[in-house]
């Protein structure tokens, strides 16, 4: 319920007349889409579909006059302005013959003078190069491409502004993995792009560090579909196309970069997609199909105040370990004040409790662990000292219903798992995307939602493999044990810096926001 309230608070409906109603900029039967605002704000480039062909056009914002820059047979797609406004880069293909007679090329990048002139080829090959974007300094063009991939997908590539051999970003690619429509932060330090890991997931927004693109952060969750990101000129927001369960259609969302909080603009019935910012950030242009086909519309950017992101629900804490090195003790700092038993030769220091062979901490018959079929959460900061090749239990909830009622553990390959169970007692688990690295401190949030979904978040990023149907009813626990299996063995070789158990699931933003802010500011 709390999550729903938070969601309702975040999805702010702006009446179309709150600032000003969306104003149509173009009209006609074909679709006018993929708008891109010129750096001086006077022109908007877009693609216009007509009779199976797609032209590249520019709209004079003041006069409303539309000029075709690249017309005739073929598809001219995804225009992007150079920072100096002199050039528009786009993807283009034209097929004059059947495939058996010989296809000349795939979709390649071309550049055309923004005032009109002869297009110039930037890339070649029977591949798909698309959704180009300039770096803020104009030194390079980054784009999506199938170039060099062995399975269906879209990788990010980089070329000099005058063309040349494309260089591929070193990103994890799999079947149907896509990094599409990159856009740079105004200072050039970060890239946002639409990301999809595979066929079963939704598009989400992902941040990549421009200098080290493998360093990434998931800006939005796959619970909602989000794509077509555009960074605001002040760097604070990202506008995108989005759909959340319950929305009437595709809509324009504004996402706060440092918190991941988002709100949907109320543009009226119909799909609103692919927003682009004016240079001052005071207006957004987007494509909208209220009249049947898509036309370009303009809207004033609404005030976007999100407030602080939600925090973990502190009053739901039922166990909170506190190390007391002075007393060589560990206590439960929650209101429940459960009694904690130490076993073995634990190292209790300022930064947490370090476990060796045979060591464990136990809360015997702890209060507050009767979650019923509702939500609960295990939040822990841990460092794995050694990947032993054996299963290592970080924490286990021991219940009369099932002695491994829930578990947070590493498997023999070093993947971190969190599992709950269904009503039959069957294991329902979430898993880390990668094996953990020894020696690295990690913030873990493992939870079961009241829907029965099991999730695992590492450093604020939800791991892809989740579980559903975990609806086991939890009565009072026999014990909660940290550092080994409920009856011993499967010892944890590492340090638990902090560990809390909550009788509630936190909002996504509460988990994500602190880490996201750190990522953006780093």
């Amino acid at each position: 319920m709390v999550e729903r309230l938070l969601l309702a608070m975040m999805v702010v409906a702006f009446p179309a007349t709150g600032g000003a109603a969306p104003v149509p900029l173009t009209s006609g039967e074909g679709d006018d889409i993929e708008a891109a605002w010129s750096p001086d704000g006077s022109m908007i480039a877009f693609q216009r579909e007509s009779d199976g062909d797609v032209d590249l056009c520019v709209l004079d914002v003041e006069s409303g006059e539309v000029t075709t820059l690249v017309g005739g047979p073929g598809h001219a797609l995804h225009p992007a302005w150079s920072p100096d406004g002199e050039t528009i880069v786009y993807s283009f293909a034209h097929f004059t013959r059947t495939a058996a007679e010989g296809i000349e090329s795939g979709y390649n990048l071309f550049a055309v003078p923004s005032g009109g002139g002869q297009p110039r080829r930037l890339t070649e090959g029977q591949i798909r190069d698309y959704t180009p974007s300039f770096t803020p300094d104009g030194d390079a063009i980054v784009f999506s491409s199938t170039r060099g991939l062995e399975e269906a997908g879209a990788a990010l590539m980089r070329i000099p502004p005058d063309g040349g051999e494309p260089a591929r970003f070193d990103l994890q690619q799999g079947r149907d993995t896509g990094f599409v429509e990159p856009d740079f932060s105004p200072d050039g330090s970060l890239i946002v792009c639409s990301y999809i890991p595979n066929f079963r997931e939704n598009w989400t927004l992902r941040l990549l560090r421009a200098r080290e693109p493998a360093e990434q952060f998931a800006l939005t969750s796959p619970d909602a579909a989000m794509y077509a990101p555009a960074w605001s000129p002040d760097g604070r927001l990202i506008a995108c196309t989005g759909y959340r369960a319950g929305d009437p259609s595709w809509g324009i969302y504004l996402v706060e970069v440092e918190s991941g909080l988002s709100m949907r603009l109320d543009t009226g019935p119909g799909n609103a997609r692919s927003p682009a910012w004016s240079p001052e950030g005071d207006r957004l242009v987007f494509e909208y199909n209220q009249g049947g086909s898509y036309d370009l519309y303009l809207v004033e950017t609404p005030e976007a105040e999100f407030g602080p992101p939600p925090d973990f629900p502190g009053d739901a804490t039922v166990l909170s370990l506190e190390a007391d090195p002075g007393q060589d003790a560990v206590r439960d700092g929650s209101d429940r004040a459960n009694e904690i038993v130490l076993a073995g030769d634990l190292e209790i220091g300022e930064t947490g409790v370090t476990f060796g062979r045979g060591d464990f901490i136990s809360a015997e018959a702890p209060e507050g662990m009767a979650f019923g079929d509702g939500a609960f959460c295990v939040r822990a900061d841990v460092t794995v000292r050694e990947l032993t090749g054996d299963v290592q239990i970080i924490a286990v909830g021991d219940y009369p219903e099932h002695r491994q009622g829930w578990q947070l553990f590493l498997n023999d390959e070093g993947y971190l798992y969190f599992n709950s169970r269904d009503t039959e007692g069957t294991f329902i688990g979430a898993r880390s995307d990668l094996p953990l690295a020894a020696g690295t401190r990690l913030s873990v949030v493992a939870l079961r939602r009241d829907t029965g979904r099991v999730e695992l978040w590492l450093d604020g990023v939800r791991q892809q493999r989740t579980g559903t149907g975990a609806t086991m009813r939890y009565g009072e626990a026999t014990q909660v044990r940290i550092g080994s299996q409920h009856s011993g063995g499967m010892d944890f070789a590492g340090t638990v810096h902090a560990l809390e158990i909550l009788k509630q699931a936190p909002a996504d933003e509460a988990i994500r926001a602190p880490h996201l802010k750190e990522f953006v500011r780093r």
């Binding site: 199976g52 059947t98 495939a99 062995e150 399975e151 269906a152 896509g178 939704n202 794509y227 029965g452």
Partner: protein
Amino acid sequence: MKPARQFIVTAVIVLLASVCPAQEEGRRFEIAAWVDHFDFVGVRGDGELLFDTETVEGCRGVLDHVQETGATTILWRNCAGGNMRYQSAVESGHHPEILDKRRICDIRPLYGWVRYAEAEPDVVRSMMAECEDRGLAPGIHWPFEETHGAIWTISRFNLEHPQLWSRTADGHPWWGRCSLAHDETVAHKMELVDELIDRGMETLFIDFYRSGGWGPSYEFTPPVIAAWRERFGEEPPAQTTDRWAEHVAGYVTDWVRNLRERLDASGREIDLMVGIPNITADSDWAMVSRGADWRTWVDEGLIDTLVISFMPWDEELPFESTREIGRGIMDAVDGRCRVLWPVRAYDFGGYGMPSYAEATGLSQEEIAERLMLMAWEEGADGISLECVDYGNYREKTRRRMSELANGRCRWVRGER
């Protein structure tokens, strides 16, 4: 006319009448070939394109190859996932996928699909007519999917209607397909059916194996949940149960009813054929995994033909167990619709000819012969061939099947 002559003429007429109907009553043993002409583009090792499937002439070459199997019904594939291979007024075409950046691109060169969506030639219309001219029954192979398990085939309708998307039990929207519980989804599909009727289709074959990964576990949509609450007075289960699958199957059955009505409304006799995978007489697999309640469809007379896509035969007794399962299905159907048995070149999900070969050591043509004869001996109405892509059925296999189709298995057993 004198009485004697009148008697003779009458006798001749009666005699002819008694002979001719017997000939017409004999039903051809149906050889229904599923044809994905796109797969005939296939690039050989030397890079040469085998067929120009973007031209009518090239597609005639495809048909020539398919006819080598003795096929009597041609089930031409109308789509790639949710993208039509003709110029549809209501759905996206088999264009290059980057025309919508939400699709993830295939990596194959742009061969064989560039012109499928152009007005002329309309490959589907042309090939329906070509089949007719050749005395073949022209039909459409329409996977029950919208996606074909790859992002590049997601249709424009799906992409543009997120509010109709399927959802997992925990409310997670999935863009793979739009829910049949929404009237808009069904209406869209009926518009596509109209386009196929207009193109001359005489059989509509719905393939429930190709579901794009959809199943009742993706049907936790608001209208389905609301109906569940009203029907059972309780919250829906946290994950798919048999009862949930049966509930969802009601929507699929409603859709099949819609199909039946739509085909009948055309004023033509258009067969509705459904293909059920992993089928036995008493298994609920199709219901649980696909929401396909084929027994109800047979009971209500909604379908003309039940295609056994594949049966879960026992690898210890491949042919014996196949015969037993097939016989059980025939008994369950009890003549209320036609039944086609599988002679399946593909092995997706197992149980195709490659699996028989592994279990028996027999060659493809030997397996095909045994399966074809088995179907005929058991009184089946024919066989289905999944899929007659280029070379899937080897030359010897095609020749042997054609010999049987025009010889011993020409007519349905016991009907001539």
